[in-house]
C-alpha cells in the first residue's frame, strides 16, 4: 500500500509541477533528505519491537550529541584541512562510538534497572541534549567539509545521493538481521511475548540492550549524515524529529505493543512522508497544511487497515485458511 501511495504522490507531483517535481535533481534532493529521519525511525521501530512499551525518544538528541562530542574531539586532534581523511574517519568512528554508548546506556537502564522505556528515553533525551549544550557551550560546532565527508553529504553514487545509498544499505542489513539472524528472530519473539521468551531461555536483558544499542548506533550514524549534509552540528537540530520518527514508524505498521515491524515498510513510510512534504513545498502550500495532511494520511491508513480492504482481498485469494480448517480432525 505504501508503494502504491509513493507512485501516486510522484504522479500527482509530476502533474502539479509540470514535471519539475520529477526532475533528477529534485529526486536526488528528496532522497538526500530521507536518511536522517529514516535512520531515527528505524531506531524507534527497533525499540517498539522489543515490546514492553518500548520506545526511543532520545534518537535525535543522541544524534546531535554524537555529532557535537565527536566533532569537538576530532577537531581537537586534527586540523580539518591538513588531514581530511583522518579527520573524517575519526569523526565518523567517534559518532558511532558515542551513539553506541548512548544506546547501551538506554538499554542497560531499561533492561537491568527496569526503568519504563518512555521515562528512560525521555530522561536520556534531556541528558544527552544537556551534555551537548555543556560541551559546545550552546554554539554550533563547525565540522567543516573535508572531501570524504562532503562526498557523503552531497556526493552521488550512480546518480543516487551517497547518504541515501548508505541508508538503504543499512536498512537492508538491518532488515536481514531482523528476519534471518537468531538475534532478530529472538527480538521479535521477545517483543511478542516476553514471558514465553523467558521460558525459552532467551537472554532477554542482552537482547533489549543490544536493540537499544543498535538504535543508538543508528542515531550516531544519523549524526554523521547530519554533519556531512550541513557542515555544522548543533544540539537543538531537529527537535521536531521526535514525533515524526514515531509517525514514520507507526505508519509503517510497527506495533507499539511489540513484536512486529518490518524495516522495508519503515523505509517506504519515510519516503512517503518525504514525498508528501516536498510536494507541498513544491506547490507552495503552507507548512501547516503539511501537518494536517500527515495526520489525515495516518488516520486514513488506520481506517483502511481496520476495515481490512487489502487483507480481505489477500485472504480471499489465499487457500491457507480453508486448508487449515479442512485438515482438522
Amino acid at each position: 500500500m505504501l508503494s502504491a501511495l509513493i507512485v501516486l504522490l510522484l504522479a500527482v507531483g509530476g502533474l502539479a509541477s509540470g514535471g519539475n517535481y520529477l526532475s533528477v535533481y529534485n529526486l536526488q534532493s528528496m532522497a538526500n533528505q530521507v536518511p536522517e529521519i529514516g535512520l531515527l525511525a528505524i531506531g524507534v521501530m527497533l525499540a517498539m519491537c522489543s515490546g514492553n512499551g518500548g520506545i526511543d525518544l532520545s534518537g535525535i538528541a543522541l544524534a546531535n550529541l554524537s555529532g557535537v562530542a565527536s566533532g569537538l574531539f576530532a577537531l581537537s586532534l586534527f586540523p580539518v584541512d591538513e588531514a581530511p581523511v583522518l579527520f573524517t574517519l575519526t569523526f565518523a568512528a567517534g559518532c558511532a562510538v558515542v551513539g553506541l554508548l548512548g544506546g547501551i546506556l538506554n538499554g542497560l537502564l531499561i533492561s537491568r534497572f527496569g526503568i519504563t522505556p518512555i521515562l528512560c528515553t525521555l530522561g536520556t533525551q534531556m541528558f544527552f541534549t544537556g551534555v551537548a549544550v555543556v560541551l559546545s557551550g550552546g554554539r554550533s560546532v563547525t565540522i567543516g567539509s573535508p572531501d570524504a565527508l562532503y562526498a557523503l553529504g552531497n556526493g552521488l553514487v550512480f546518480g543516487v545521493p551517497a547518504s541515501f545509498v548508505i541508508f538503504i544499505g543499512v536498512a537492508l542489513v538491518l532488515g536481514g538481521v531482523l528476519r534471518f539472524t537468531p538475534y532478530g528472530m529472538k527480538l521479535m519473539l521477545t517483543g511478542a511475548n516476553p514471558k514465553a521468551a523467558r521460558f525459552s531461555g532467551f537472554p532477554q536483558a542482552r537482547i533489549v540492550t543490544v536493540t537499544y544499542a543498535i538504535s543508538g548506533l543508528l542515531a550516531g550514524l544519523a549524526g554523521v549524515i547530519i554533519a556531512a549534509r550541513n557542515v555544522n552540528v548543533k544540539w537543538d537540530y531537529g527537535t521536531t524529529y521526535l514525533l515524526i520518527a514515531i509517525l514514520v514508524a507507526v505508519m509503517a505498521g510497527v506495533r507499539p505493543e511489540g513484536g512486529y515491524g518490518r524495516v522495508v515498510n519503515v523505509v517506504l513510510s519515510a519516503i512517503t512522508l518525504q514525498l508528501l512534504s516536498s510536494l507541498l513545498n513544491f506547490i507552495g502550500l503552507s507548512n501547516f497544511v503539511r501537518d494536517f495532511a500527515w495526520g489525515a494520511l495516518l488516520l486514513c491508513f488506520l481506517a483502511v487497515g481496520r476495515f481490512g480492504l487489502v487483507e480481505q482481498l489477500l485472504i480471499f485469494f489465499s487457500p491457507r485458511r480453508g486448508k487449515a480448517r479442512a485438515s482438522k480432525t
Partner: protein, 352 residues
C-alpha cells in the same frame, strides 16, 4: 474450615516472613508514596540550599505554575488508567483556546466568562471524543491514533483557523486571569497573588477523585485498563469508556487552554503543543503505569508538583543555564529508578 485456613496460608507471606508488608510491597501498592517522598526530599534540599524557597510567595508560584500541567495530567491519567495513551491533548487545548478566543473577540465580545469556560470544556470534550471514537472504531493503539490527531488538530488550527497572536483579549478573560484570591507582600514590596483560577485545579482534583473512586465509570476505567476483554465481557461498555476518557481529557485540555490564555493574557496558537511528553512523564512519575490500570489522582498531583518544583527551582538553587538540561534529565532517570518494581506482574490468563 480448611478452605479458609488455606486461604490465609496462601495470602500471607510464607514461613518466617513478618506480617508487616515490606518496603517493596508498599512501593508496589501505593507508588504515590514514593512520589511524595521524592517531592519532600527535593523541597527540603532546595530549602536548605536557598531558604527563599520557603517564602509563601514561592509556594504560591509553584501552585499557580502547576495549574495547566495539572489539568492536562489529570486527563492523561484517566487515559492511562484505561490502558491508553494520549499525545493530542495539547493540540486540542491549542485548537479550542485559540478558536474560542478569536470567536469571542470577533463575534461575541460580551460573552460571560462562565459561558466561555463552558464552551471550552464542551469543545475540548468533543474533540477528545473524536479520539475516543477513533481508538474504539479503528482498534489500534491510542498512541498511533493520537499522533495522527495531534497533527490533524494542529494542522487545522494553523492552516485554517489562524496564526495571528491575539494580544487584546476580551476584558472578562483578562479579569479572570488577574482576579486574585489573596495577596502576599514580600520583601522589596514584591506582591504575590494567588489567582482565583487556581481554585479550579483543586476543584477538578476533587471531581476527578470522585469520578474515579465513587462512580461506576471510574471503576469501569480501571477495569478496562486492567483487562479490556474481560471488562467488555462483564458488561462495561468499551465504547462509552473510550469516548469518556478521551472526552474527559479533551474537556480538561479545553479548560487548561482557556486558563492558559487568561493567565498569559494573549492567545498564541503556537503555545502548549510540545509539552505532552513532559505531562505524561509527570503522570508516570505519579505512579501510573504506562501499561494501564494503575495510579491514583493523588499520585498524579504529586507527580505534577514534582515536575513543577524541579523545573522552577533550577535558578533558585543556582544551576547555570547550560547545565539545566543535564540536571533535569538525570533527575528523571533517578526518579524513574525509584519506581522500579520487581514484584511479579499480575498473572493474566488470556481469554480464548
Amino acid at each position: 474450615m480448611t478452605m479458609v485456613q488455606e486461604m490465609t496460608d496462601q495470602t500471607a507471606p510464607k514461613r518466617g516472613a513478618t506480617q508487616r508488608p515490606g518496603l517493596g510491597e508498599i512501593v508496589r501498592r501505593r507508588p504515590e508514596i514514593v512520589t511524595l517522598t521524592i517531592l519532600v526530599v527535593i523541597c527540603v534540599a532546595v530549602a536548605i540550599i536557598n531558604p527563599n524557597f520557603l517564602q509563601p510567595g514561592s509556594l504560591i508560584d509553584m501552585g499557580r505554575a502547576s495549574v495547566v500541567t495539572g489539568l492536562f495530567a489529570l486527563g492523561v491519567f484517566a487515559i492511562l488508567a484505561a490502558g491508553g495513551i494520549d499525545v493530542s491533548f495539547t493540540a486540542i487545548a491549542a485548537l479550542t483556546m485559540y478558536s474560542l478566543t478569536s470567536f469571542v473577540i470577533g463575534v461575541a465580545p460580551g460573552m460571560p466568562m462562565g459561558a466561555i469556560i463552558a464552551i471550552a470544556v464542551v469543545a475540548g470534550a468533543l474533540l477528545g471524543a473524536v479520539n475516543g471514537l477513533l481508538v474504539h472504531g479503528l482498534r489500534v493503539p491510542s498512541l498511533i491514533v493520537t499522533i495522527g490527531t495531534q497533527y490533524l488538530f494542529r494542522g487545522i488550527l494553523l492552516a485554517f483557523v489562524g496564526t495571528v497572536w491575539l494580544m487584546e483579549l476580551p476584558p472578562q478573560m483578562t479579569a479572570f486571569g488577574k482576579a486574585a484570591l489573596f495577596q502576599f507582600e514580600g520583601m522589596n514590596g514584591v506582591t504575590v497573588d494567588l489567582p482565583a483560577y487556581f481554585l479550579i485545579f483543586p476543584a477538578v482534583v476533587a471531581l476527578a477523585w470522585f469520578l474515579f473512586d465513587r462512580t461506576l465509570m471510574g471503576r469501569a476505567i480501571f477495569a478496562t485498563g486492567g483487562n479490556p476483554e474481560v471488562a467488555a465481557r462483564l458488561g462495561y461498555g468499551q465504547r462509552i469508556v473510550h469516548v469518556f476518557v478521551f472526552g474527559f481529557a479533551g474537556a480538561l485540555a479545553g479548560l487548561a487552554g482557556i486558563i492558559h490564555v487568561s493567565a498569559t493574557r494573549m492567545a498564541n496558537p503556537f503555545d502548549l503543543v510540545g509539552m505532552e511528553i513532559e505531562v505524561i512523564a509527570a503522570v508516570v512519575l505519579g505512579g501510573a503505569r504506562i501499561t494501564g490500570g494503575t495510579g491514583s489522582v493523588l499520585g498524579t498531583v504529586a507527580g505534577v508538583l514534582l515536575i513543577t518544583v524541579v523545573n522552577n527551582t533550577l535558578v533558585l538553587v543556582g544551576i547555570p543555564s547550560t547545565w539545566q538540561r543535564v540536571v533535569v534529565g538525570a533527575f528523571i532517570l533517578l526518579a524513574a529508578a525509584f519506581f522500579v518494581r520487581r514484584a511479579p506482574k499480575p498473572q493474566k490468563r488470556k481469554a480464548e
